[in-house]
């Protein structure tokens, strides 16, 4: 490496220029940058996953990554991750989560016609038959679907080495692994922690749950700092929307409009 009369600094190269440079250096090389191997993400979540053009972080889910959704809104945030990818033609598999609220998923916008629900391969069949090969089931699913949602119980009950193999397979195949809950011994690329700030719409004996303010915190192995973002998850229509900063006064007026106190009469 010569020092001094280098005309271009590598750091200032745009991805396009870098790609072109590499193509001249290595004839026939087809360069795929990490940010090109992406699955789309819900526009409200995009600010978390890196936004502006000068931000080196990608604008979607990087294929091959493992994502863990934790916190009190873990299930909703995991479903929100599925929305954009299933709508754009990817398939999703939900494994070992019989309690997932399908109506909530549909309201969020998950394309149910491309979502399959697979029973827990480690459990179930205890009446005499042999247990199915979990590794085979998981690898078949990794090969078949782009986004795989796994229950925490499933992840922690499997040997760590098996889960690492699944992760490797997801990386080769270019899918996304989403774990609902704390993956404990397994290390993941991205952690999405969703904390409920408050539920709105319900009072003391009146109203009904309308929307929830959630702080999403994204942290990851290759991220310099954690990013935070406030969203409505779900909002009044059951969807994911951004929190628009309003003045306090407006918020109070809105609150007053929502709450209709009931009194016992007669």
């Amino acid at each position: 490496m010569t020092v001094g009369n280098t005309t271009s600094e590598p750091r200032s190269l745009s991805p396009q220029a870098l790609s072109a440079l590499l193509a001249t250096q290595i004839p026939g090389a087809h360069l795929v940058m990490a940010h090109e191997r992406l699955l789309p993400i819900h526009p409200v979540l995009a600010p978390l996953f890196g936004v502006s053009s000068d931000d080196p972080l990608p604008l979607g889910l990087v294929r091959g990554h493992t994502l863990a959704c934790t916190g009190s809104a873990a299930m909703s945030s995991a479903l929100a991750v599925l929305v954009a990818s299933t709508q754009s033609g990817s398939w999703a598999g939900v494994v070992g989560l019989p309690s997932v609220g399908v109506l909530a998923a549909a309201d969020l916008g998950v394309a149910l016609e491309r979502t399959i629900f697979v029973s827990d391969p480690t459990g179930a069949r205890d009446h005499g038959e042999q247990r199915p090969d979990v590794a085979a089931v998981l690898s078949a699913l990794v090969d078949g679907v782009d986004v795989l949602l796994l229950a925490q119980r499933l992840v922690t009950s499997l040997p760590l080495s098996l889960m690492r193999r699944v992760q490797t397979r997801v990386q080769t195949r270019g899918g996304i692994l989403v774990i609902v809950g704390d993956p404990a011994p397994l290390s993941v690329d991205i952690r999405l922690n969703a904390t409920t700030v408050e539920w709105q719409g319900v009072g003391i004996g009146h109203g009904h749950l309308q929307r929830r303010r959630v702080v999403l915190q994204l942290d990851g192995r290759r991220r310099a700092r954690a990013t935070e973002h406030e969203v409505w998850l779900p909002d009044a229509q059951g969807q994911l929307s951004a929190v628009v900063q309003q003045s306090e006064k407006f918020a109070v007026v809105e609150q007053a409009g929502v709450v209709v106190p009931l009194r016992r009469t007669g």
């Binding site: 997932v100 309201d107 491309r114 391969p121 078949a140 078949g144 409920t196 539920w199 109203g207 929830r212």
Partner: protein, 559 residues
């Protein structure tokens, strides 16, 4: 545009309900004279016997409708491999007269008549010989059977001879109904006259035209093939583009091969020689997979698809099996592999198995066209992702059983547990029968109208729904369990929720929302529902609880 040349004269032997004949031969107990029989594929009738037809069973009916029309109908399992394996002796028997035969599907074969007709003395004689040979082929399957009765139970076999594949196939179908061969005189005017009264719908099954196109033709008032043939090709091309010309050729019987068919390069045949002869079907199919994958990749890279290929296998003792396979929609690697499996299964497990292991396997594509046929519309089209997913689903069903893989289907209801039904994928579509992909669309999704259920929970819906409700305790300020009176009044505001032994302070609540469902039968259920927001160390959590017969249950969490 070159003038349409005379299409080759073809003979088609067609058995409309071959799966039934195969099933009877396979398992003679299911057969009794005038017993209605039907085969179901993906829960719908795919073929039925004449006896069932006369009782009102129709193709495409659901099982329940068919059993309603004809309660004593015997349901025959759908098994394409059985059908293909048992058709092999028929092909062999016909093969003693005609060397080169195209097997389109099990139950239907096609041959060029020029040589054989001259050999046996005319088309009529050839038709009679073909019927006799095919009947002998079926007879070879089971000597004890009353072959005439079995054939009539399965709708008979028909032979049609005409110019071109389309006319011959249609003639063979009519012949099967009529019970005698049909020979259409040669010449384009006779062919066009024969084709004219057929509904355009036949082009879907005979020529693989997309159903949307046929639907459009019908809406334009073109209901019969004669209507299309009467139009000028120029007008058809104006309206439909290049497919208009194909339609005209199909309808007037002048051409049925896709115009872009290209002869394959000479060296395309692909051969695998086994040093150790193999006699196990699975190992052979596994070895063949690399061949079909290689061919599939070769064609895929060139944007082509193979529509006709020849599969040859040699045994160590010099016995051979060779067969030509044709599929109008084209064959991908998995479809090719199915053909290899069918042919080898029929040979190895059939009546005349090879006496030694297989030493050589060769696949020779003989007809290739550009791959334009798999594109399907803008909306609801199949993508590569759909196909890989369908394959994965089939594999996972193999591991976990049909109930292991489910999809959500709108059901409706007031309880969040009922709104979506989980139905097995296997009940939705055919599980990859004969290389066809399975379709994963719950059928009645358009009726998903939440307004149909007054009294259901207001949006948003809970993200976690416990299908087995957890027992909880809801306690008021003074430590008594909260109760709901028969008139729907709460004894005291809930103050604490005890969940899995831990107490949580209730910060907000709403309810009770009484739900009284099915009061008219024994499934009646009278519950009152509450939404509770409780304080936990890291924020708030919202639950849906219900009180049923004095006990509190946690049914869902707004997680």
């Amino acid at each position: 545009m070159s003038s349409p040349q005379q299409p080759p004269r073809c003979a088609v032997l067609h058995s409309p309900a071959w799966p039934l004949i195969a099933a009877i031969v396979h398992n003679p107990q299911i057969y009794a004279p005038s017993q209605p029989l039907a085969v179901f594929d993906a829960q719908r009738v795919s073929c039925c016997s004449p006896a069932a037809w006369s009782e009102g069973v129709r193709l495409g009916q659901r099982r329940r409708q068919a059993q309603g029309a004809c309660p004593h109908v015997v349901i025959v399992p759908h098994d394409p491999e059985r059908d293909a394996r048992l058709f092999e002796p028929v092909v062999r028997s016909v093969g003693t007269l005609v060397p080169l035969i195209d097997v389109a599907t099990p139950g239907s074969l096609l041959l060029a008549t020029r040589g054989p007709s001259r050999y046996v003395g005319g088309d009529d004689a050839l038709a009679i010989r073909l019927i006799a040979l095919a009947t002998a082929g079926v007879k070879a399957l089971g000597e004890s059977l009353d072959i005439e009765a079995v054939l009539s139970a399965g709708g008979g076999m028909g032979v049609g001879i005409a110019d071109g594949r389309i006319a011959a196939t249609l003639a063979a179908r009519s012949a099967a109904h009529r019970g005698m061969p049909i020979v259409i005189p040669t010449g384009s005017s006779a062919t066009a006259e024969f084709l004219a009264p057929y509904a355009v719908k036949v082009l879907v099954s005979v020529a693989g035209c997309p159903a949307q196109l046929i639907d459009l033709l019908e809406r334009l008032g073109l209901r019969q093939l004669g209507d299309i043939a009467a139009l000028s090709p120029t007008h058809l091309v104006d309206r439909f583009g290049s497919i208009g010309l194909v339609l005209h050729r199909l309808a007037s019987g002048t051409d049925d091969t896709p115009p872009a068919t290209v002869p394959p390069p000479a060296d395309l045949s692909i051969t695998r020689v086994f040093d150790d002869p193999i006699l196990q079907l699975d190992m052979l199919v596994f070895a063949a997979k690399s061949l079909t994958d290689e061919l599939g990749t070769y064609f895929h890279e060139r944007g082509q698809i193979c529509t006709r290929m020849r599969i040859e296998a040699d045994s160590e003792h010099g016995e051979t099996s060779h067969r030509v396979w044709y599929r109008s929609q084209g064959m991908h690697s998995s479809t090719m592999l199915d053909r290899v499996r069918w042919q080898l299964d029929g040979w190895i497990n059939g009546a005349d198995p090879p006496s030694a292991g297989i030493t050589m396997l060769r696949i020779t594509p003989s007809e290739i066209r550009s791959d334009a046929g798999t594109q399907e519309g803008f909306w609801g089209g199949r993508s590569q992702a759909d196909e890989t997913a369908a394959r994965a689903i089939t594999r996972v069903i193999g591991f976990l059983g049909p109930q292991g893989v489910t999809v959500a289907s709108w059901n409706g209801g007031r309880d969040p547990r009922q709104v979506y039904d989980m139905i097995s994928v296997a009940d939705l579509g055919s599980t990859a029968a004969a290389g066809e992909q399975l379709l994963l669309r719950p059928q009645d999704d358009s009726s998903a109208d939440p307004n149909l259920w007054p009294g259901s929970l207001p949006a948003p819906a809970p993200a976690v729904v416990f299908h087995e409700a957890l027992s909880v305790a809801v306690i008021d300020q003074r430590g008594h369990s909260v109760s709901v009176s028969g008139r729907g009044l709460v004894s005291a505001p809930p103050a604490t929720l005890t969940l899995k032994g831990a107490n949580h302070e209730v910060v907000a609540w709403a309810g009770p929302w009484p739900v009284e469902e099915r009061w008219w039968d024994e499934r009646s259920r009278r519950v009152a529902r509450f939404q509770l927001v409780v304080q936990v160390p890291d924020g708030q959590r919202a639950y849906l609880v219900e009180v049923f017969a004095g006990n509190w249950w946690l049914t869902a969490e707004y997680a």
